[in-house]
C-alpha cells in the first residue's frame, strides 16, 4: 500500500465521517422537530377538553402526559453543539449561549410532565394542572425559539 493509496483512503474516510456528521446534524434537527411536533399535535385533544368542547377523557390525557415526558426527555439530548445550523431550524443561537439555563428548563419540563401524571386524577385536577404544565412550553419558546408564522 503506497502513500498515495493511504492518503486517498484517509481522504475517503474523512469524507465519510464529514458526511456522516452533516447527516447526523440534519437528523438531530429533524428528530427534535418531530419530537416537539408530536407534543403539539397531541395537545389538541386535551386543549379541546379544557375549552369544554370535548368530553374529559382521563386515559387520553394520561397518554399525552407520557408522550410529553418521553419526547421532552429525548429532545433534551437533541440540541448538541453542532446542531445550531444546518437544516430548517427555529432554534435560536441563545440556546447554546446559556445552555445550562436551557437544559435546566427542559429538565424541569420533564419533571413537571411526570408529576402531572400523579396529580391529574379527575377533571378538576386536569383543569388546574394541565394549563400549569403548558406554561413550561412558553418558558423556552419565549427565549429560545425564533418567531415564525
Amino acid at each position: 500500500m503506497g502513500f498515495g493509496t493511504k492518503a486517498a483512503g484517509a481522504l475517503a474516510l474523512a469524507l465519510v465521517i464529514g458526511a456522516g456528521a452533516a447527516l447526523a446534524q440534519g437528523d438531530v434537527i429533524s428528530q427534535r422537530k418531530a419530537a416537539m411536533k408530536a407534543i403539539g399535535d397531541g395537545n389538541r385533544a386535551p386543549a379541546a377538553m379544557l375549552r369544554g368542547e370535548a368530553p374529559f377523557d382521563l386515559s387520553a390525557v394520561q397518554a399525552q402526559l407520557k408522550v410529553i415526558e418521553s419526547n421532552a426527555t429525548s429532545a433534551l439530548k437533541l440540541f448538541p453543539d453542532n446542531s445550531k445550523t444546518g437544516g430548517d431550524t427555529a432554534a435560536l443561537p441563545k440556546i447554546w449561549e446559556t445552555k445550562a439555563d436551557f437544559d435546566a428548563k427542559m429538565t424541569s419540563f420533564v419533571a413537571a410532565a411526570k408529576s402531572a401524571q400523579a396529580k391529574i386524577t379527575d377533571e378538576a385536577s386536569f383543569k388546574q394542572e394541565f394549563p400549569a404544565l403548558l406554561k413550561n412550553c412558553g418558558g423556552c419558546h419565549t427565549d429560545y425559539r425564533a418567531r415564525r408564522s
Binding site: G40, N43, G52, L134, C137, G138, H141, R147
Partner: protein
Amino acid sequence: MRKFALLVVVLAIAGFGVFWFISAPQRVVIANDAAFNAPGDVARGKDIFFAGGCASCHATPNQADRLRLGGGLEMKSPFGSFYAPNISPHPRDGIGNWTNADLANAMMRGVSPDGAHYYPAFPYTSYAGMQADDARHLMAYVRTLQPVEGRARDHGLGFPFNIRRTLGVWKWMFFDTAQVKTDPARSASWNRGQYLTETLGHCAECHSPRNALGALVDSQRYAGGPEAHGDGWVPNITPRSLKDWTRGEWVQLLQMGLTAEGDSVGGSMGSVVKNIAELPKADAEAMADYLMTLPARQGPPRPKK
C-alpha cells in the same frame, strides 16, 4: 447676488421656524390637575399594567422577576438600538418623582416630564387612545413596586434619528391621538376588547408592517410582517389567516399561549401571554370577540429562506 443670499437666509430662518413650530412637543390637556394627581386605584392599576404589557420591555433582562422594572432591554431596529428605560418607582433613576399627569403625557403623547419627545419604540402611538384616568391608576400601582437603582444606557441611534426634536415632525406626519370610539351596535365585551387590543395591548405595533420611517402601514394593520427587532416573522392575525379559529381557541391562545394547532407560541408573544394570564378571563374573551371581527387583510409577502 447679495439679494439672493439674503433670500436664502430668510427662507432658512422661515423653514427652521416651521420645523420648530411643527416639532414642538404637545401635551394632554387635563382640565383639573389637582383632582387628576390624586392617588389612583392600585388594583385597577395592576390590570392596566398587565394589559399594557409594561413588563415585557421594562423588566430588567436576564432575571425572573417581571416586576423589577430597571429597564435595559435592547430593542434593535433599522434606525439603531433602543434601550428600555427604568420605570421602577426609584426617585432618581426611575419614575418615582412623576406625577399622574407626567405619566399620562408620556403614554398618551410621547412627551417626557421635561418636555422632550419619546421615540415610538415606546408604543404611545397605541396608548394615545386610552382613557387618561387609566394612567392615574397605573401610576398608583407602579408606586407599589420595588425601586430599582441605575439607568439604562442611552439609545444607540444614527444621525438624524438621534435628534429628538425631529420626532415632532414624525408625530405631525404619523401620530393620531384620537380616542378609541365605542361602537354602540356591538356588545360591551367587543368594546372592551377593542379598547384592550387597540390601546393598552398595542397588538398592532408588532402585528403590522412598518414603512421606511417606522410608522405602521394602516392598510395592512394586523396583517403581520417582519419582526422589527429580530429576524423572525410576525403572523397575520386577521381572519385572512385565522378564519377557522373558534372563540375558545382565541381565548386559549391569549391565556395559555396554545394555538389552534396545538403549538405553543414563543418570542415576544410568550411574554404577552404571561401578561394576559394575569388579567380576568373576561378580558381575554373580550379581546377574542374583537380580534375575530378584524377585517381580513393580506400582509406583505414573506421572503423565502
